[in-house]
């Protein structure tokens, strides 16, 4: 194996792959990155895999000798990151499974392991396929990922549920206290009916990596997706992300969203967020609770916090309100998370009582519903 490539290129791709390399691998070879060097394509491919998810990425290089080898991922990444920004040469030594890294600053030798023991990434033979536009995917991930649960005991909630029907792609995530649903109209090319009714739950961790990959993805080609009952593979040009799907039935979230609301509050998203950010300084000191007081006479919403032993605060934000006055409390973090994701100038809060589900919807083209359960104040 022998190739030459710019330091920055290798550095970027190593840090992408490095994200999936496990800190405590089940077998030693998994803490390595697999490097495949293809002379014919003049291309280097890097693979990282933790047995649940894997990332594969390729880039152009001047290849003099083909070959395959695995090298310790973190070590290699650390060395490459510190080399000068110029072309570097990587060459397999005569001895077993080691390389020399040569740059103008000097020469390093790093030992690795044979590629033979490295497991291959899962492939999907008889699955279904779909194509998703980058915009739709990014919109869905931005609007849903934040609402996933971090509680590993609720496996299926640690992922985002993806559902595709003809021309509709719906993302949903909930942690049991709030629920984000984003519906994107997917116009990525032709669809025949065989193309998938998709109904899968993808781990949030994999989707966060996917989101990063999408942000640096420059092609306008849609993302190809293959899936079966246990795996999904996203293909972005030369990059590929594969992950195991989360098992278990995803909650029937649509029935959780009330159909009718007695109260509607239309409010400037930025103004409300700014007020909440300030209120959160105190709310975070205690229990994160913020009270919204809807005042239909004043056509305003008072945002207030009572942090015992710490202090209190109150701000008033103008709003268009229909329905009776109501005091309703929320976890301020849940509100801020949702408002950040909603993305329109104005949003609408719809609610019934202080103890029933409230929803935020954007006023605009984005089709998102953010449901938040209130905090009940018992006394």
């Amino acid at each position: 194996m022998k190739f030459v490539c710019p330091q920055s290129e290798l550095n970027t791709h190593l840090s992408l792959v490095g994200r999936v390399v496990p800190a405590r691998p089940s077998k030693p070879v998994l803490s390595n990155v697999l490097i495949k060097v293809d002379e014919e394509k003049q291309q280097v491919t890097l693979i990282g895999f933790d047995e649940t998810m894997g990332i594969q990425t390729s880039f152009k290089a001047t290849v003099e000798e083909p070959g395959e080898l695995t090298l310790p991922a973190k070590l290699l990444e650390s060395i490459i990151a510190r080399l000068p920004s110029e072309d570097i040469a990587i060459q397999e030594t005569q001895e077993d499974a080691a390389v020399t890294i040569t740059s103008s600053s000097g020469k390093y030798e790093v030992r690795g392991l044979s590629a033979e023991d490295y497991p291959s990434l899962p492939v999907i033979e008889d699955g279904q396929a779909a194509e998703l536009s980058i915009e739709a995917l990014l919109e869905g991930l931005k609007g849903a990922l934040f609402a996933t649960s971090a509680d590993e005991s609720k496996q299926v909630l640690t992922g985002v549920h993806l559902m595709a029907e003809p021309e509709i792609l719906e993302f949903a995530a909930t942690d049991g206290h709030r629920l984000a649903v984003v519906r994107t109209s997917d116009e990525s090319g032709d669809k025949d009916d065989s193309v998938a009714k998709m109904d899968v739950t993808v781990p949030a961790k994999a989707l966060r990596d996917l989101e990063r990959m999408l942000q640096t993805y420059t092609s306008s080609e849609p993302i190809a997706l293959k899936f079966d009952r246990t795996q999904v593979i996203f293909e972005l040009g030369d990059q590929r992300l594969t992950t195991r799907l989360l098992e278990g039935q995803y909650p029937n979230y649509r029935q959780l969203i009330p159909k009718q609301f007695e109260r509607q509050v239309t409010i400037d998203r930025k103004l409300l967020m700014d007020a909440l950010e300030r209120i959160a300084v105190l709310a975070d000191q205690k229990n994160n609770i913020v009270k919204l007081s809807l005042d239909s006479k004043q056509q305003s919403v008072a945002v207030s916090v009572e942090a015992q032993e710490v202090g209190s605060g109150r701000e008033v934000v103008a709003a268009q309100i229909s329905g009776d006055d109501l005091d309703i409390a929320f976890n301020v973090r849940y509100l801020l998370d949702g408002l950040k994701a909603l993305g329109t100038n104005e949003v609408q809060l719809q609610c019934n009582t202080a103890t029933s589900p409230s929803i935020f919807v954007p006023l605009g083209e984005v089709q998102m519903t953010y449901l938040v359960m209130p905090v009940q104040i018992r006394s």
Partner: protein
């Protein structure tokens, strides 16, 4: 010391529900209306009066009086078992009424609170108008009457609320304050109990005017550090703010005796009354404490406190009484006479009734129906 005079005048209201527990019972049970009733323990339980209706008060029955004595004064007295959950609920409704007018509310108990309405939510400059509005709202929404005192500080507002009770309103204006306090009999001062009042009488202090003659140093040397408080209130001064976030650290009761207690059985009887009051407050507050402290002041003013802590919180009157008696037996100086006994619970458990925040959850139990549009 002159701080209160240089600051802009505050507008403080003290609201006190009239014979609260008894009035709630009379409201809910028609048969009790117009009758002398007391809420609390029965003579058979060796209980004490927690609240007495105005009809009962005509017989000289007062709260904290042993039930046995109450029955002696009024043989046809009706004893009613307390329903603290109802009183708490009514109390919450009353506090919700206060909250319409001001955010500065300091509840003292279920039936009393201070309100600072200097700056209020309805931008009403007249504290008297607010006090009337609150009394009106309370009656409309709970069918109970409250008395209110309006003045420039907590001390004066509290005294004022007592003046036209029941169902009354009394205002002590800033320019009346000094004269008012001067003519006030010393035993009407809030914070001066029967025993202290008796001691003051011995010293020739019968009214506020008498008290005002004393220097701060002399009051402190006669009464300890509380003498400073006496010095200020004799001048109608009280800088204590209305504190909506007052954190209760202990639940206690104490009582001075005159004449001093001499026998062990007198002391145990007194302790059981104190335990009763502490137990009642535990029920009001819905929380007990892990530490019980016994305070004993001997006739020579020596004071000792002795505590016992345990993993299980103390809540029941009987347990508090028993442990209090044990502490007394272990630590009492058998030679000395006792002029004051106190029992207090501290290391309080978190109060469930303290505003509790419950993040509500979505019902994610799987249902048979699949997602559909």
């Amino acid at each position: 010391m002159e701080r209160s005079e240089t600051l802009p005048l505050r507008k403080i209201i003290h609201v006190d529900m009239d014979a609260f527990y008894a009035s709630v019972e009379q409201r809910d049970v028609p048969a009790y209306r117009g009758q002398p009733i007391v809420v609390g323990g029965t003579p058979e339980q060796r209980g004490a009066v927690a609240a007495a209706s105005y009809e009962a008060r005509k017989f000289g029955i007062r709260s904290a009086m042993p039930a046995r004595v109450a029955r002696q004064r009024c043989p046809h007295l009706i004893f009613v078992k307390p329903r603290f959950d109802v009183y708490r609920e009514v109390s919450q409704r009353v506090r919700a009424i206060f909250a319409r007018y001001t955010e500065l509310i300091e509840p003292l108990s279920l039936d009393e609170a201070y309100l600072d309405v200097t700056h209020n939510l309805i931008e009403e400059p007249s504290a008297i108008a607010i006090a009337q509005a609150i009394r009106h709202d309370i009656y409309q929404e709970t069918q109970l009457t409250a008395s209110a005192g309006v003045s420039i500080n907590k001390f004066l507002a509290k005294i004022a609320s007592d003046i036209n009770k029941p169902d009354g309103l009394c205002v002590i204006r800033p320019d009346q304050a000094a004269a008012f306090v001067e003519t006030l009999p010393i035993d009407k001062f809030h914070g001066i109990g029967r025993v202290t009042a008796a001691k003051m009488h011995q010293l020739g202090i019968h009214t506020g005017a008498d008290l005002k003659q004393w220097s701060e140093t002399d009051l402190v040397s006669k009464f300890g550090k509380v003498g400073r408080f006496y010095f200020r209130v004799a001048r109608g001064q009280d800088d204590r703010p209305v504190n909506p976030n007052r954190i209760r650290k202990s639940i206690g009761a104490e009582k001075s005796f005159s004449p001093d207690l001499e026998t062990r059985s007198q002391m145990v009887a007194a302790l059981s009354q104190l335990a009763e009051r502490v137990g009642q407050r535990v029920q009001e507050q819905q929380r007990g404490g892990h530490t019980l402290t016994l305070k004993v002041k001997y006739s020579d003013y020596r004071q000792v406190t002795r505590s016992h802590s345990q993993a299980q919180p103390l809540r029941a009157t009987g347990d508090i009484q028993q442990l209090g008696a044990t502490l007394l037996h272990q630590h009492l100086d058998p030679q000395a006479k006792v002029r004051l006994l106190g029992l207090a619970l501290s290391n309080l458990e978190p109060r469930p009734s303290e505003i509790q925040y419950v993040q509500l959850a979505l019902d994610l139990t799987p249902s048979q129906r699949p997602n559909s549009c």
